[in-house]
């Protein structure tokens, strides 16, 4: 209650003062731009610009790297704008009534998050029937959204039920790709849409004797049902990855069988065949994973 009263008094004083100053002169006061929050964002995201003495919205011309943006709401101290298509990183410029003012900090236009589905990624494996598992892993790059042969530009790799990340060291099984990136993995529980950020997660890396994504039924991403001989991705397991070059992505595996049948027939449907949804944030270090 006290606080409210104080605030109220303050506002009243301020109003009185401003009303006074308005009365003082006929010239249009020069406005200032003090801050942009956030100072980065994708095209289409909303940005708030704060300052003082903003004139009426009809008089303002606001550009992101020269590309005009639409103001969705405005007061004399705050403008809310949408990052326009074609915007480039750099200065945010506000001009009105002959004045032009750049924001004190520059704005970085982020690349949009990429949502995709990888269908039927083949992950063959040799051995395993009492023999050590072997054969090359199938490597995947989030940047290209495709399988890759590159020895360095890969993020995650698949062999049978095993998933490797391009980070850490080889675990010691046969035919593993060398780890030369900064990859890592964290396993989250929830709906795919509920995992909105990679911030604060602990990322494991592959290490001698242990994959970052644990192997085995119920341990990592799948359950194996010996009664039906079926391998099912555990619903609600969201795999969050740090890519080899320090970007973030989330993955939900939908199926281990060709063409992702709703009810796989383990004897007829070809297995070691991944279908997964992913959301990739192509901006280095950006943890946002809330796909639009």
């Amino acid at each position: 209650m006290k606080t409210t009263l104080k605030l109220f008094s303050l506002c009243t004083l301020l109003f009185a003062f401003m009303a006074c100053s308005d009365d003082d002169g006929d010239t249009v006061a020069e406005f200032t731009v003090t801050a942009i929050t956030p100072d980065s964002g994708t095209v289409g995201s909303e940005i708030t610009i704060t300052g003082t003495n903003f004139p009426d919205v009809s008089a303002i011309n606001l550009t992101f790297g020269g590309v005009p943006a639409t103001i969705s709401s405005a007061t004399s101290t705050q403008l809310v704008v949408t990052v326009p298509t074609g915007a480039t990183s750099g200065a945010v410029t506000v001009s009105a009534n002959g004045f032009t003012q750049d924001a004190t900090t520059s704005f970085t236009v982020l690349a949009n998050l990429v949502s995709g589905t990888m269908e039927n990624l083949e992950a063959p494996q040799t051995g395993s029937q009492g023999e050590p598992a072997g054969g090359p892993f199938t490597k995947f790059s989030f940047e290209t959204g495709a399988v890759t042969d590159s020895d360095t530009e890969w993020d995650i790799a698949f062999r049978g039920t095993t998933i490797a990340v391009n980070g850490g060291t080889v675990t010691g099984t046969n035919d593993e790709p060398a780890r030369n990136g900064n990859g890592g993995a964290a396993i989250e529980t929830g709906l795919f849409a509920e995992v909105t950020s990679a911030a604060g997660l602990t990322f494991e890396v592959d290490a001698d004797g242990a994959f970052a994504i644990p192997t085995g039924s119920g341990e990592g991403w799948y359950n194996y049902n010996p009664a039906t001989f079926t391998l099912s991705p555990i619903p609600g397991r969201v795999l969050v990855f740090r890519t080899h070059d320090g970007r973030y992505a989330k993955v939900e595996i939908l199926s281990y069988y060709r063409d992702a049948p709703a009810v796989p027939d383990p004897f007829m449907d070809e297995s070691r065949m991944y279908t997964f949804n992913y959301v990739y944030n192509p901006n280095e270090g950006e943890t946002n994973l809330a796909a639009n």
Binding site: Q125, Q129, E131, N174, N225, T228, P235, S255, M268
Partner: protein
């Protein structure tokens, strides 16, 4: 004995015509309605009147079995309230008994009070037990480890054989022929002369088996035959010293396409009843049983042995019991014994021996005229796991001659079995995974590590070999009984809480991409619900009965996880992930929420004829998780719709000694469909209608 020429002709007829059948001549008394003479021995290990007991007991009298025309234990149990024979359709053929929602692993089966052994993955095949020579079957529901020790968590099924009581040779010869070329011949002879009595029982069953997968090669149940031989001797040395000896042998041989599959079960049971005075006496019991199987699969082309799996289990058990009657309603029972168990199995490194000692005490008394209390406890000391104390308290209060309140609380336990302790198995043909029992896991892991087969350990090496605890349960039964005139009814609420259930866990990942599994105490589940039983003598010759069980059976941890929103399913069409609601969690596998039975037995004495109709219904149940979240939920395409089995039989007596019986089990030809079957390979739940005919000669 009345075997004349005419009878021999009939015998010839019986054994040559596979469409003959029979029905025992019986006293028209205790098929369904209450009989004050009905006594049971399983509930207290003393002779107790069924209608005065404080705990839930189902009694199946000989007459009901005979009229129903069934010959195996599993068939008659399935028609009782709260007892379900679950088809293990995922494996095919095997059936498990479920009592109050508790699985077969936790139900003890006894013959004349001594336990049978020989379980396959925890499940005891009840079709092994021929019931042509029995007096009654007693089923005690709820934990009974206070008297019977390990395994008696869910209940105890006791098969009581018939004693000879006539100085003439009495008995029956019968043959039953049924669908699937099921041929069952039985000879049963009894005589009691002076101090000596004997009983001989021979049963032979053969069948072509049946197939639940018409589109696939091979049969679900291969043709087999089995023999059951049982001889019993009763010798009253004196008024106060009575001896009993029983030998039983069972042999079953499956005709599998290439190889052999044999099963043998032998028991030797000796008992001396020594009455010291009118009021007290000792019972000395010696029991030995040996169950063995021999499975061999050979390559049909080069006769190479592909699989050789032998299993040889022995149990030796001496036991002494002492009873003292302070007064007619006041009995103290004390007992003690020793179990020596051995198992020799191909999948174990060595022969394994367990031994345990136990003592138990029970006091059955009436502090008030209307109040009966039974308090008991048993202590088991075991060589391989923690010792167990199993108490039980039951009470019954008779409000008036019609109404009675009943309640019991008891605990049960199941010792870790041989497999969970000593299995040392690597499945070379199934992918190369390994399974180690608790006692051998540390050693096994070391061996694999020495061979460089372990990629990484999933557990702390110091935890390896930490002893397993026995699985345990606490069961509560609260009931009301009502009887008046032609009506008898019972209502019983039950709740069973299971702790420390043994589950598998991953010990290590192998370099071949497979895992090493071990065992751990982990799961806790509960079953709760209510049972209602109604028996009504509608007419002098018409007995009706109906039973119902409501059942909720859940895993507690999984229930919590669902309630916390931590369990997800997948939309079967879009594969989209969905957060499950509490109502989506169906519960434990193979449990029906509702089971119902209805029975009508009708007699026409002037024609020497009888008929009966029995209907058993179980509601929808699920078989397995299919969407990877490790619980059975509504999104799993894994449910068998509710179904009813309708059984019908007619019997008629000719010329006093001959009974002909005709019937149909599963009259409506329910076959069902296994949801786990793949699209083009239909799998049935039930092979369909079985017609039978039986001819019985009673003498």
């Amino acid at each position: 004995m009345s075997l004349n020429k005419n009878n021999f002709l009939i015998i010839f007829f019986v054994f040559t015509t596979p469409c003959a059948l029979g029905q025992e001549k019986t006293e028209r008394d205790s098929i369904l309605t209450e009989n004050l003479e009905e006594v049971v021995v399983t509930a207290t290990r003393t002779v107790r009147q069924l209608s005065s007991l404080p705990l839930p007991v189902t009694l199946i009298a000989k007459e009901q079995i005979a009229r129903s025309g069934v010959t195996r234990l599993n068939e008659i149990l399935n028609e009782q309230t709260g007892i379900v024979m679950t088809p293990d359709v995922t494996i095919g053929g095997g059936e498990g008994v479920q009592i109050q929602g508790i699985a077969s692993d936790y139900v003890m089966v006894l013959i004349d009070g001594v336990p049978v052994v020989g379980r396959s993955s925890g499940n005891l095949d009840l079709s092994r037990f021929a019931i042509g020579n029995i007096k009654q079957i007693e089923v005690v529901k709820g934990p009974s480890s206070s008297l019977f020790g390990s395994e008696a968590l869910g209940g105890v099924i006791n098969i009581i054989t018939e004693r000879p009581n006539s100085d003439k040779v009495t008995g029956q010869i019968s043959h039953r022929a049924a669908s699937f070329n099921n041929q069952n011949s039985t000879i049963n002879l009894n005589q009691r002369k002076g101090k000596l009595g004997y009983s001989v029982f021979v049963d032979r069953l053969s069948t072509d088996g049946f197939d639940l997968t018409p589109n696939q090669e091979g049969q679900t149940v291969n043709p087999f035959f089995n023999y059951t031989l049982n001889g019993r001797l009763y010798f009253n040395v004196s008024e106060n010293l009575k001896a009993f000896a029983s030998g039983r042998y069972f042999l079953q041989d499956f005709d599998i396409p290439s190889g052999t599959s044999e099963e043998r079960d032998g028991n030797l049971h000796l008992r001396l009843d020594h009455n010291l005075t009118d009021k007290s006496g000792f019972e000395y019991e010696f029991y030995y049983t040996n169950y063995s199987t021999n499975e061999q699969t050979v390559d049909p082309i080069n006769d190479e042995i592909l699989l050789d799996n032998d299993f040889d289990q022995k149990l030796f058990r001496p036991e002494v019991r002492f009873n003292h009657n302070f007064s007619s309603d006041n009995t103290l029972t004390l007992g003690g014994g020793y179990n020596l168990e051995t198992l020799n199995r191909s999948l174990f490194a060595d022969e394994i021996t367990f031994n345990s000692q136990y003592v138990f005490a029970q006091y059955d008394f009436r502090p008030l005229k209307k109040l009966n209390i039974i308090a008991g406890a048993r202590f088991d000391n075991h060589s391989e796991y923690n010792s167990q104390l199993s108490p039980k308290l039951s009470a019954r209060y008779d409000l008036n001659p019609h109404w009675a309140l009943k309640g019991s609380v008891g605990s049960g336990f199941k010792a870790p079995d041989f497999r969970q302790l000593y299995l040392d198995f690597t499945n070379a043909s199934g992918g190369g995974y390994s399974v180690f029992g608790k006692e051998v896991e540390a050693e096994g892991i070391q061996r694999l590590q020495a061979n460089d087969e372990v990629a990484n350990l999933a557990v702390d090496p110091n935890d390896l070999g930490e002893p397993l605890d026995a699985e345990s349960s606490v069961g509560i039964n609260l009931g009301v009984g009502f009887k008046k005139g032609k009506l008898r009814s019972d209502l019983n609420f039950f709740r069973n809480d299971f702790e420390n259930l043994i589950d598998t866990r991953i010990l290590a990942a192998k370099t071949n991409g497979q895992n090493v599994f071990g065992y751990i105490n982990r799961e806790s589940v509960y079953t709760q619900g209510l049972e209602v039983d109604l028996q009504y003598k509608a007419l002098e010759n018409l007995n009706l009965s109906a039973g119902y069980q409501l059942l909720y059976a859940f895993d507690k941890d999984k229930e919590d996880a669902v309630e916390n929103g931590e369990v997800f399913g997948r939309d079967p069409e879009t594969l989209e992930t969905i957060r499950l609601e509490r109502s989506d969690y169906f519960g434990l596998e193979n449990r029906s929420r509702h089971t119902l039975n209805f029975k009508a037995f009708y007699e026409v004495p002037e024609w020497g004829a009888n008929a009966n109709l029995r209907v058993v219904y179980r509601s929808r149940f699920g078989l397995a998780d299919r969407n990877g979240n490790d619980i059975l939920d509504e999104l799993d395409n894994s449910f068998v719709d509710g179904y009813a089995l309708v059984n019908l039989s007619f019997g008629k007596t000719f010329y006093e000694h001959y009974q002909l019986q005709l019937g149909a089990n599963n009259l409506l030809d329910f076959q069902g469909s296994n949801p786990l079957a793949t699209q083009d390979n239909e799998q049935l739940i039930n092979p369909g209608t079985q017609l039978f005919a039986r001819l019985n000669i009673q003498f």
